[in-house]
Amino acid sequence: MTFKTVFAAAAMLAAVSAPAWSAEYTMSASADFSGPFADVMPNAMSGIETITAWWNKDVGAKLGVKVNIKIYDMRYDAAVIARTWPSILSRDQPIMHLGFGSPDLTTLMTRLPNDKVPMLIGTAMVSMVWKPEGWHFSIRPTYSHEFAGLLDELQKKQGRKLRIGAVSTQTAAGFVDQVKGVEKLAATYADRFEVVDTQWVATSPVSMTSNIRAMLEKKPDVILVGGTTAQVTATAAALEELNVKLPIINSTHNGLTEVAKGFDLKKMNGSYSAFSFAPDNQAKLPLRDIYEANKTGNGQWGIITTQSAAQALLALRVLEKAVAKVGKDKVNGQAMYDALLANKFTEQELLGVLPDLDFDASAPFPVGAIKTKAQVVVDGKIQPLGDTWLPVPAFDKW
């Protein structure tokens, strides 16, 4: 056997064994490696990259489609996004952008319908961007909807009107919006909820004892802290000083996982994080198994990894629907937008990480029966709050 024969045989074997990609698409992604969310970014990007790599191998290969993820460090900065986006459009021609938070929304939402690129973000929404006919979407409803699902559950357990105290900060419109949304919930269900007090504090307060003391005069049943992790720990420290035990409710960006990095969670027994995807430590979670089996790099499974993995998975499921509709070679931003709105996505398709989802052009988040989940601190440990999704009571935009 000559060298040429061996070489030709090897080349043929390689050609046969490699996936026969006939279509390659790019999804761009916003990261924040040097801004306020730099601490969680390795895990967040690991979720997107790992799930995409798995999808390319197990699903894309069968469809003849490969997805390339291009990550850009936008620094959670609207100016950086504004100057980077045109080059992303011309160079990558993404079929979808995976956004990260408010700067992506405020910078891109008005131009996306003209650019014909839909954006899917993993963070929760705020009412300022709750507009119809947009090309910006989230896997999650607003923070207020997520809190409402948990508040609904707690009110039902308590059996009487739930008195809510809120802590927030005026320095970020999104944090103010969370409180306004919960006030709307209370106004809609006045017999079930009441926001008894709101304390506006600095993002990193020295002490919140005065604030919490003033709030306790209004006798809240729970304290909602949607702002920063420092505010959550300051609230817990104030409750300890005042020798009062009350549950604190927070979100994911300031959630129990973040608090646990520097605070004894035993002092926060009975406190909650609310969010509308599956808890990372849920007993049965197929997406986690896929992540662990395919993980590369330094990322670790956790609450933010779960969120970004869910974001990537929904984007890839949309691509599958788009391929089924227009064919594997003709997918573009418009086809992705149409596929997102025209289809329903089941919890099973979404590997347990998201509930059944249905989008339409009226809102930038799932419509219909919105559901949420939560984690709770028990004996100093973070545990999922039950196995089932919590229904979110319906309320209008505020």
Partner: protein
């Protein structure tokens, strides 16, 4: 009445934390005439040094006692202060005030980036040096942590005042603060004095971190306390060690009263705006601050 007194107690204790950080501005300004805008970042560096020599080394398998971790942190702070003085501000001696001002802004950005590069932006635990909880004194509750911090601030203020007015080295620093050329003509080492001031500034900022963050978490956002302490330093007078805690109490009490009585009708704006409104008011009426040096220049 009890509520008002409780608000005053809380405000005083929080104000003394601002005062402690403000002292770190003052000790640097006294010798070098530099308002270091990056003092909040210097505080974060001190906090991260302390994390490194406590939880950080523990993660590597070395269990260092807390007192030793604190000691090593202070040594690191001395080195860090010297580094800032030698490579950032010494080359600027004699340069226009605007150049020094811009250098302190550049230092702020550089320190923020360096902290992220070395320690990443991860939120980290801070050792619990001070006990949590509160003391019940009659009808009043007093935060144990802030009370100890307040006593420490008062003791430190007295100690530094004695140092600057009674010790030979302190008097040299005072001479440098008065005028660099005069100090040089008297045989005082201006460079040495400025280096001591930067070491003091870094160490005091780290003490501020200990009181502020004990048992809490360290993140890069913590640096924002620098901008809370700056109006305190300006109000007290940038040359006055004793003025800083007094101004801290004024700002802290004002903030607490605004929080209790004005925030409910201003959606929390009043307590945020007050320190900066006071700062602008003082600068307009008394540019040298309440206890700062009023200089008379004869032509």
């Amino acid at each position: 009445m009890i509520k008002l007194l409780q608000v005053l107690i809380d405000g005083t204790l929080v104000g003394l934390v601002y005062g402690l950080v403000a002292i770190s501005f003052v000790v640097i300004y006294r010798a070098s005439k530099i308002v270091n805008l990056s003092q909040g970042e210097v505080l974060v560096f001190g906090a991260l040094f302390l994390w490194t020599f406590t939880f950080g080394v523990k993660a590597l398998g070395y269990d260092m006692p807390l007192w030793l971790g604190l000691l090593v942190t202070m040594v690191a702070c001395v080195g860090f202060g010297l580094l800032l003085e030698r490579f950032v501000f010494r080359p600027l001696i004699g340069q226009p005030a605007f150049a020094i001002f811009m250098a302190s802004i550049a230092l702020l950005v550089m320190l923020r980036g360096t902290a992220q590069l070395v320690w990443t932006a991860e939120t980290r635990p801070f050792p619990a040096f001070l006990p949590g909880g509160a003391l019940q004194l009659g009808p009043f509750m007093v935060s144990t942590k802030l009370l100890i911090g307040a006593l420490f601030t008062i003791a430190l203020t007295a100690g530094l005042h004695l140092f600057f007015t009674r010790s030979r080295r302190g008097l040299r620093l005072a001479a440098v603060a008065e005028d660099h050329n005069t100090a040089l003509s008297l045989g005082v080492s201006v460079r040495g004095a400025i280096a001591v001031a930067w070491i003091l500034g870094t160490v005091v900022a780290t003490f501020g971190a200990i009181v502020f963050l004990s048992g809490r978490i360290v993140s890069l956002e913590v640096a924002s306390i620098g901008f809370k302490a700056l109006p305190v330093a300006l109000l007290g007078g940038l040359e006055s060690i004793r003025g800083a805690p007094l101004a801290g109490i004024l700002i802290g009490v004002g903030e607490a009263v605004a929080m209790a009585y004005l925030d409910p009708v201003t959606n929390g704006v009043a307590s945020n705006v007050l320190p900066f409104a006071v700062m602008i008011g003082v600068l307009l009426l008394r540019p040298q601050g309440l206890f700062g040096w009023k200089k008379i220049e004869r032509l």
